[in-house]
């Protein structure tokens, strides 16, 4: 980045509604978050890690839940994305965290999802991941800390 070009550093908070089974719009949160991060001068690798995490979590809400919302927060210390859905919840988080374990529907599988890699991928890319779930809904928070090498050189 040119030293003359000033980075956008203002805090950013944006909320997105995610509709159940809305496969056609799946990826919107990831795509718009990626664009915002690139505009802020973050490195390609840092942006990629966040994009993967957001996309996987977004897909989970689309294919597994009754619908929900995502909140994206960007500040000078971290990028945090929270996903809250309206159920039916994850019966076993231990199983869900296991690579290859999947409860995806036929509809999800026909659309290329259901590899059982979603949550393991999210855990692998994020600095912190907090997942709680009940029949009333699942809350997932992922956080990526801004480090010295998070910006493009």
């Amino acid at each position: 980045m040119s030293p003359l070009k000033k980075r956008t550093v203002e805090p950013y908070v944006r909320e997105f509604i995610i509709e159940r089974n809305d496969i056609g719009n799946a990826g919107t949160v990831a795509s718009l978050t990626k664009r915002e991060l690139k505009n802020r001068g973050f490195s390609r690798e840092f942006v990629k890690q966040i994009t993967i995490g957001v996309y996987e979590a977004e897909i989970n809400v689309v294919i597994h839940s009754y619908g929900g919302k995502a909140t994206v927060e960007i500040n000078k210390e971290y990028i945090e994305i929270t996903f809250k859905d309206e159920g039916p919840g994850i019966p076993s988080i231990d199983n869900a965290m296991t690579e290859g374990f999947s409860t995806a529907s036929k509809y999800a599988i026909e659309n290329g999802f259901g590899a059982g890699m979603g949550l393991p991928n999210i855990k692998a890319v994020s600095d912190e991941m907090n997942l709680t779930s009940s029949e009333d809904g699942t809350n997932l928070t992922i956080r990526f800390y801004v480090k010295g090498n998070s910006y493009a050189s």
């Binding site: 056609g24 795509s31 996309y55 026909e110 290329g112 590899a115 890699m117 979603g118 991928n121």
Partner: protein, 111 residues
């Protein structure tokens, strides 16, 4: 190798309108999108039989150089239209996925 180098092989046909100067660094074959999200990289050429619009979502987010549909899979107009918007080359081949991987690898060595 660039996408236009691949298209010199008659077994690979471009089926949309997009930038064919994109560089291909590697090839990745997969029909499950979370595997592609987890393991593929920027400027990979994705080879798949998954003729689904979500392929383009992943291709766009990870900045693939293009998507090859193997086994002469039919690709619907909605996918082609979306790929034009996203400027992602879509290529069809009669080859199987495994044959296509090998062919791209061989072409990559000579370009």
């Amino acid at each position: 190798m660039r996408v236009n180098d691949l298209l010199k092989d008659p077994d690979f046909t471009l089926i949309n309108q997009s930038d064919i100067n994109k560089e291909i660094n590697n090839v990745f074959a997969c029909d499950l999108l979370s595997h592609a999200m987890g393991f593929a990289a920027e400027n990979d050429l994705l080879i798949t039989v998954l003729n689904n619009i979500n392929v383009l979502g992943v291709a766009s987010l990870l900045e693939f150089s293009g998507v090859v549909f193997s086994h002469n899979i039919n690709v619907n107009d909605a996918i082609i239209k979306k790929a034009n918007e996203l400027d992602i080359p879509l290529i069809r081949t009669r080859l199987t996925t495994a044959e296509a991987v090998v062919r791209v690898h061989i072409l990559g060595k000579s370009n």
